[in-house]
Symmetry: C2
Subunit: 427 residues, 2 copies
């Protein structure tokens, strides 16, 4: 029996009614609710039980107000067909790689929690429309929520994509958690600069078995985008509105998750998405111009890069700590046009002397860093801090990890960071 | 003679033409330009001179393409009247406190750079419309770009405001740099919770002597807002559009600078501004409801709080370093709904055991932290990480500095952080 997080009165209540975490129940209080008893976290009180409703939302019910509670037959894990649809030789081929995340998740009917449980084949089979767009091969690369993905995972995804660069696939879908999707998108953009096929990172903000899930439309739109355009490179393909009708394809180095829960959480920073998929048609942003480069895979990252957001009261000794800990690069999220308080200058000077790359982005996120306008900016330029134009801070950090492991000295590192490798600098 | 940043060919060029940094010149290349020779930064090449044009923009001119360059009579520092307009006893009184920043800056005609040079009296005199709205007393508290302001400065501003709480002023304008304005606004909101008068932090994105400056409209709108509404508390009053016609009054704990250079860089996160000033009328956002609290000044901050943004590859030992350096609080900018990779769990556990306050915000910036949806969130709740709802990360950091110095133990600290002290949590 599992009572995770229940104690005191609420534990007693569950035991008395022969219930446990994961039990499917019908509860009567002021209204009647059906759902699954969820685990509670340790610091919760002992006056409530938590219930996951069928619509996916969790509610807390006060024990004292429950007039009746009955166990119901459990749904058990839904058995889904994993059979591949019959391939249609007239359709293009797509590879669907699953790495985990909400899109590959469903509610675990034992614990009531959401866990990454769907294989890529199940995901494919759960969206029958896909088989009308392309013949889809599926594989599971790993199964992790994206907050647990590390640069080592970026390398695995990049290596798998690299192995597909010259195959018959028209494009590749990477199912991925949304939490760090923008970091992976940037990492793949740099590691696979000039990649000859389109890659769509696709996630969902609501798990695939919820009625409000955005998974199906995101997948269908990604498949359309891969098969019906001549795009190449790394994109993030996610809802573009709160309703279920429009999907945006964001360029991989300019995209950011700007809302914790909305389905249209992802936005292109400082511009419109590269493509919009709506009602079966695909519209290209006339401003989006991706000059084709020759494919130049350089798949490695060095984690000795620190992202440091400046704020009033920040202790300059953090920089000295980074230097003595062997960091090779610091990406500042400065204020405004790219400033930090002069209290950091001495530590910055010491870091520069030790050969660290010091790059400046802005915590404003949108807009150009301009370090020649004010004394503060010019001071930092004189200290050797390199302005990174309008790179999104997270993309600049990922780029520094990539450039560190692909440059032989400070000069080359700086040149690579200033170079517009994968449209990370926009106009 | 000053040649700051010039060397080699460009230095030779200046000397040959008897020019220096700060010289007013007319230059002929492909076109004709008038402007002031600007300093260059050390790493610049020696092929260009930098010129600040009359419209405030800087351009670089290649020496090889200059067919003619002539010194022009210098404007010298413009002499402005600092005389106070004659007070009108029928108008309300406002106090204008200057702390520095672009709004109190003008181009230094010696160096061509922008420096904080205007006194509050000069600022007032430079916008004659103000005297028709209120009788304005002026004073200079300090004169700093806001990237150099520290929690010690927040305390000075808060103490000065506290001393005005029961005076005849209808409201107070604080002229402030835009770089860290949102931090100061949050700091004053917590330190002066329930402040009985309206305070408008006003800045500008373009210096006051540039034709495109936003300073005048922001000041005039702030004065109207202070005199014509019954608002109380701390607001940021800045342009609401790229044109020069609409100004927004943002609530001090929900505002963020979201663009490096646009005049409408400031936005209310997750909602509309509290008030809009347009064409002399003021519109209140019907959603904005500030329940009046009794005034409870607690003016102190403890800098032992760390803002830590999670990213793939972040070294968990940074947390251990914070613990051993004596930090008392860590505010995480987690991913998505409020997650970090499990790689941090051990370090988080050690920090919690040492009694640090650990709070969770989201690097998405907009939207609620919800840590009961996924295993990752529940794990962190079990480790004692406190969800900070939809506090803007920077406001949460400032709040933790404030709560640290106003709580006697861990429990009270957590209670204060969860409490909605100054509308930092919105619906």
């Amino acid at each position: 029996m599992s009572y995770s997080g229940y104690w005191g009165k609420s534990l007693e209540f569950l035991k008395k009614n022969s219930l446990e975490v994961g039990s499917q129940v019908k509860v009567r209080t002021d209204a009647e609710y059906s759902g699954i008893i969820m685990p509670r976290y340790e610091h919760s009180d002992d006056q409530h039980i938590a219930l996951k409703l069928k619509n996916g939302y969790n509610i807390g019910l006060e024990i004292g107000k429950i007039s009746r509670i009955d166990a119901e037959p459990s749904h058990g894990a839904k058995k889904e067909s994993t059979a591949q649809p019959h391939p249609d030789p007239s359709l293009p081929k797509i590879l669907l790689i699953s790495t985990g995340g909400t899109i590959a998740s469903r509610i675990d009917y034992r614990t009531g929690g959401v866990t990454p449980a769907l294989t890529a084949a199940e995901l494919n089979a759960s969206v029958p429309e896909l088989s009308k767009i392309a013949n889809i091969d599926t594989e599971v690369l790993f199964s992790e929520y994206s907050e647990n993905l590390m640069p080592e995972h970026w390398i695995k995804i990049a290596e798998r994509l690299d192995s597909c660069a010259r195959t018959e696939y028209k494009g590749i879908i990477v199912a991925h958690g949304t939490d760090t999707m923008q970091y992976t998108a940037a990492a793949l953009s740099f590691a696979l600069s000039g990649y000859p096929k389109p890659v769509a990172l696709v996630g969902s903000q609501r798990s695939s078995d919820r009625p409000s899930s955005d998974a199906a439309l995101n997948l269908i739109s990604a498949a359309r985008f891969l098969t019906d355009t001549d795009a190449a490179g790394i994109f993030v393909v996610m809802h573009n509105s709160t309703s279920d009708d429009e999907v945006a394809c964001h360029w991989g180095t300019r995209v950011r998750k700007n809302h914790t829960s909305k389905r249209n959480a992802f936005q292109t920073v400082g511009g419109a998405p590269a493509y919009i998929v709506k009602n079966g048609t695909i519209e290209k942003n006339p401003q989006f111009d991706h000059p084709r480069k020759s494919y130049n895979p350089r798949i490695n990252f060095d984690k000795k890069a620190l992202l440091l957001k400046y704020y009033p009261g920040l202790d300059p000794s953090l920089i000295d700590h980074a230097v003595s800990s062997g960091y090779q690069a610091i990406i500042f999220e400065g204020t405004g046009l790219g400033h930090v308080g002069r209290i950091l200058y001495d530590s910055i000077q010491r870091a520069k002397k030790k050969g660290l790359f010091l790059g400046m982005t802005s915590q404003c996120i949108d807009g150009m860093v301009r370090m020649t306008v004010y004394d503060s900016g010019r001071d930092l330029l004189n200290l050797g801090v390199v302005p990174l134009d309008n790179m999104v801070p997270e993309a600049a950090l990922v780029k520094s990890m990539w450039a560190l492991s692909n440059s032989k000295d400070e000069k080359e590192m700086e040149r690579m960071m200033r170079d517009n490798v994968a449209l990370e600098i926009s106009d």
